[in-house]
Amino acid sequence: MTMKYKDNPQAVADLVRPAEVHRDLYIDDEVFELEMKHLFASTWVYVGHESQVPNAGDYFATEVAAQPILLARHTDGEVYVLHNRCPHKGTKIVIDRAGNTGKFFRCPYHAWSFRTNGKLLAIPLKKGYKDTGFEQSEAGQSGLPPVGAVKNYRGFIFVRMKQEGISFEDFFGGSLSSLDNMIDRSPVGKLEVAGPPLRYMHSCNWKMLVDNQTDTCHPMVAHESSAGTAVEIWESLEKDENTKTPMAMEVIAPFMSPYEFFEDMGIRTWPNGHGHTGVHHSIHSDYSAIPGYLEMMAEAYGEERAKAILGENRHNTVYFPNIMIKGPIQQLRVFIPLAANKTLVESYIFRLVGAPDMLLERTAMYNRLINAPTSIVGHDDLEMYERAQEGLHCQELEWVNVQRLYEEGEDLDLEAVENGTTERQMRNQFHAWKKFTVESMEAEARDLADA
C-alpha cells in the first residue's frame, strides 16, 4: 500500500476545508493511525475520575490514543497514569478494568514488580543481569512509564501523552466553566462516579459521535420514532389535573422540540475545538424541581450563587477530542476510538455528593433511556452513524458538508455564541483536528531532519 498521508502533513491539512471535510477523515485507516499518534497524543484527553480510585493501590485500566493505559492511586495520594505494559516482554500488567493491587503491581509473567507510581521495584534472580549492561537498557530504565503530563482538575483526570506541548489551561481555557458548573451542582463541590459505565460499541468513526453532540437538526427527525411516539402515547392517555408527568416523559419529550427551540437555545464555541449547545435554555431546562435541593444549594453557596449555578442549563459540552458532558444531569460520555470504523462509548453517571438521591435517579434514568445499547433513542443515532460510515465509501462524492450558518472569514480562535443550529462547533472541531495533527506531524518531521 502506498502511504498517502504518513510523512505528508500537507496532504493531511488538505483534508479539512473551512466548511467541508474529506471523507478519508472518517474511513481511512492511515488517517486513523495518524490522528491517534498526533492529535490524541498532543491534546489533553480525559481518562477517568478520581472517585474510581479512592484508595492507595486502587487502579483502573483503559485505552488512550489506541494504547493500553492504567491509572493508579499511589501511597502519596496522587493518581499516576502509566503505560500498561511490562518493560520486560510487553505483558499487560492489569487486564481487569478495575481493582486494588495492594502495595505494588506484579507482572504475572516473570514477576517483575513495580511501585504504584510505576517505578521498578524488584526483579527475581536479579543477579542474572549482573554485568549485562541491563541498567542502560530500555527495560532497566523505564519501569511502567508515565504519560507525558497529568492534570487532576477538581477530580477529573486528563492526560497529555506527549512530554511537551500545550498546557492544560491553554488548551481548555474558558471551556472549563462547563465542568465547573457540573461540579458546583453538588452542595460540597464534589462528584462521585456511581456504578459501572454503560458500554456501547459503535461500528463507526469516533468523530461521527463527537459531531453529533452539537447537531441540533437531527433530534426531531432521527428521534421522532422514540420521543414522538412517547408524546403521542402520553397525549392519548386519560389524565386529570392531579396527573403528574412521569420523569421518563420529562427526559424524553424535549427531543421532539421544534427547530425554533434549538435555534433559540444557542451554541457557544471556544478555541481548540471545545463548545456547547444550550446557552440560554436546553432540553434539560424544564425538569421538575427536586424537593429540598435548592435549599441545600442556597445554604452552601448563598441564594444568588445557587440560583446562578442551577440556572445554567448547558445541554452538551464537547471537550475535544474525546468527551462530552451534560452538566445539568451529571453525565459524561467518553469516546474511545478503536479503529477508523470502530468506537467504544462509555457513559458514566455521577452522584452529587451531599444532594438528594432523586437527582441521581433521574441521571440513571437518562443514561439508560438515551445512551444504552438497549435504548430506543440511541438505536436511531447508531443507525445513522453506521449508514454514514458505509455511505462515505461512495466514490462519487468526496466531501462531508458542515456549512450551516458558515460565514467567510470565520475566526474559530475566538469564543463566539451563535444560533443553536449552526455547524460552527463542528467546524471548530475540525479546525482543532487539523491544527494539532498537522503541528505534531511537522514537529516530528523536524525532529527526524535534526537527527
Binding site: 456511581a194 460499541m201 420514532s225 416523559m249 434514568m365 439508560r368 445499547p373 438497549t374 438505536h379 436511531d380
Partner: protein, 160 residues
Amino acid sequence: MTLPTRDDLIDLVYHEARVIDEGRFDEWLELWAADSYYWMPLDYQQEDPKNMTSLMYEDAFLRKLRVERLKGLRTFSQKPKSRCSHVLNRPSVEAFDPKAGEFVTRTAVHYVETRLDDQFLLAATVHHHFEMVEDELKIKLKRVDLLNCDAAFGNIQLFI
C-alpha cells in the same frame, strides 16, 4: 379464588418467549400486571435499579413506548425489522406460596437476535415474579441477568 399450579407458571414463561419471537408485541403487553417492571441490570448481582444505571428498567408506559415505536413508519433502525429467537431451559419454580401470593421462576435462556447480515447470541438467567390479578397470572417483575452484562454491545433491539 382459583390458584395457579406450578405448571401454569412454567407455561407462562414459555408462552411469553413465544409471543416475543412471533412479534406479537401487543399481546405481550397484556401479560403484565399494572405496576410491573422489566429489569435488565448493568452490573453482575446489581441490587438497586434506580440509583445506578441499568440496561433497562421499564414500567408499563416505557414498554408500551417500545412496542408502539416498533410499529412506527419512521423507526429507521427497524427498517428492516429485527427478529429474535429464544431457547429456554425448563424453568424451575423458586418460590410457590399462594398464601403470600409469591410465585417466582428461574429460567436459563439463550437469545438470538438478527437484522440484515448481523446475528448475535446472548445468554441470560431470567427470573419471573408473578402475581394473580383477578384469577389470571400476570408478570410483576421480569429480571434479565445477562451473562456478559459488562460487555460492550451494539444495538439490542427486542426483548430478552
